[in-house]
């Protein structure tokens, strides 16, 4: 592959040749990561399933009970079998996709937005403000994440909404740190000096010129973080501090399945698989994005 490092003016292409922007370059590299492309498609399918869930489910995930088929293995009628209360596992897992994806996306988005703004400001202004932000991040990072989440839930009470808030809170310091580091290295670059010299305001410099430079690491870290957040949210529901039964949340479903593991392993296996495949997809996508966005990597 040819190396493209020249300035845009020099590399102005002759007619009809494709222009190599960072975006096309990213797409070119990303398409070579077959696993990541599959993962991205899988996530897209999950998002569609999550949106359409109420119209896809063959049975009501909470209110339908088939008392004749309790703990029955997968069949034509019940694709993934029936749980110990006679509910259709397929319907519950499809509905659970909605909960888990929403929990992952919303908590990471909240954490990323707040963390990014704090990190940008801390990296750009330094001084007392930076010290306060970084010291608070240190303290937040001094608690193991899930412990902090349990603390938040102890204050707010067990529920899925509170789990999302809790997971968002402990995502903030990690994003703040990441963005601050990038801001520190970007703000002394010549192009920032140039922007400042033509009289751009701090706001313009921060959000139009520094922020775009920190987007790639945020994207990579955020993608992986969604996977972690889904596991954390499911874990909290599993130990009874998140979604409460009969909500078809995957972690809560597993907790309910514990007592019937011996009789009906499928009741536990399918929710486990759902969590595993979803988180795996986010991790593979994150790996792929990292390799595609890293300028050092251009694999042969």
């Amino acid at each position: 592959m040819t190396q493209v490092t020249s300035s845009p003016i020099e590399s102005l292409p002759p007619k009809r040749e494709r222009i190599r922007t960072p975006m096309t370059e990213f797409i070119r590299k990303f398409r070579k990561q077959h696993l990541a492309v599959v993962a991205a498609l899988f996530i897209l399918a999950l998002v569609i399933i999550a949106i359409l869930a109420p119209w896809i489910v063959p049975f009501d995930p909470e209110e339908y009970f088939d008392y004749d088929r309790i703990n029955q293995a997968p069949s034509v009628l019940h694709w993934l079998g029936v749980d110990s209360l006679g509910r259709d596992i397929f319907s519950r897992i499809v509905m659970g996709t909605r909960i888990s994806l929403a929990a992952g996306f919303i908590s990471v988005a909240l954490g990323a937005i707040v963390g990014t703004v704090l990190g940008l400001l801390a990296g750009y202004y330094e001084g007392w403000w930076e010290r306060i932000v970084m010291r608070i991040s240190d303290v937040l990072l001094a608690f193991p994440g899930i412990l902090l989440a349990i603390g938040v839930i102890a204050v707010l009470g067990p529920s899925m909404v509170n789990v999302v808030i809790a997971v968002a809170v402990f995502s903030i310091p990690a994003f703040a740190r990441l963005v601050r580091g990038n801001t520190l290295s970007l703000k002394n670059m010549t192009y920032i000096e140039a922007v400042r010299s033509i009289g751009a305001s701090d706001f313009t410099i921060l959000f139009k010129h520094i922020l775009p430079g920190t987007i790639s690491p945020i994207l990579v870290y955020g993608t992986m973080r969604i996977g972690t957040s889904i596991i954390t949210a499911a874990s909290l529901s599993f130990i009874g501090l998140g979604a409460q039964p009969p909500t078809p949340e995957w972690g809560a479903m597993l907790n309910e399945a514990r007592s019937d593991m011996v009789l009906a392993p499928h009741v536990a296996i399918f929710p486990s698989l759902a969590i595993f495949l979803t988180v795996l997809a986010f991790n593979l996508l994150g790996d792929g994005l990292r390799d595609a966005l890293d300028p050092k990597i251009d694999r042969q």
């Binding site: 608690f143 193991p144 994440g145 412990l147 204050v155 067990p158 596991i231 593991m261 536990a268």
Partner: protein, 306 residues
Amino acid sequence: MFSYLVKRIIGMIPTLVLVCVVVFLFVHMLPGDPARLAAGPEADAETVQNIRKELGLDLPLPQQFGHYLLNLSQGDLGTSLRTKRPVLAEIGARFMPTLILTLTSMVWSVIFGLVIGVVSAVWRNRWPDRLFMTLAVSGISFPPFALGMILIQIFAVNLGWLPSVGATSWQHYILPSITLGAAVAAIMARFTRASFVEVIQEDFVRTARAKGLSEKVVIVKHTLRNALIPVVTMMGLQFGFLLGGSIVVETVFGWPGMGTLLVDAVTARDYPVIQGLVLLFSFEFILINMIVDVLYGIINPTIRYR
């Protein structure tokens, strides 16, 4: 070395104090009146007032914090609302099982992670690498509680080789520590591989090969030591992950540790116990990170005497 150690210990103090402040304020962030919570829902106004006095909740906040620190320095963490026993006694019995569980998980997962990471890096893009890295990405994606349930099902229920619940013999440690350590082993393997691949492409490694050193010497003496520097930092972070993970894994295995105690305390809204546990978990985490930092100083000569 000594001055570095002292500096690190002094550097810990502001974080410790801030953690204490957060944990202290925790009770005041709760919805409702802490005195009423302590008195229980049936208590009359007079009892609540007495308890408020008794707990010193009628004093100004900074003075309350002073009392809190004073009690803390004497090992007094308050009294459990549920069992009416001192929090320290409640936690005391639970401390060792959790510590041993996290340490055993840490030891096996770090050794495994390092070996797998190095093997993958040395044979990178060949089948051992692909196999191990597939396993590793699966390891970080598999929910630990599901892994625990599956291990119990296979090794305790179907095969009957290992016990599933409790912590009375060394066999009891095997399944929980595999469950707890799996994700860490996977993370360590990925991280070690990345770090190793970076170092192995450095010029000094090429020089070492060019002067005719055996591949073993190049890997062990020249690459490994340099690749380990970021890996050690990662190890410290992973310990926090293990401490947090232990809360979930203990629930799966009915482990008599701090994790199950914390879950029970949160469910029963037993705030003094929650406070004590959060404090202890955090102190443990900060302490481990300091030890890791010191280790870092030992293997990385460039920062040793700074």
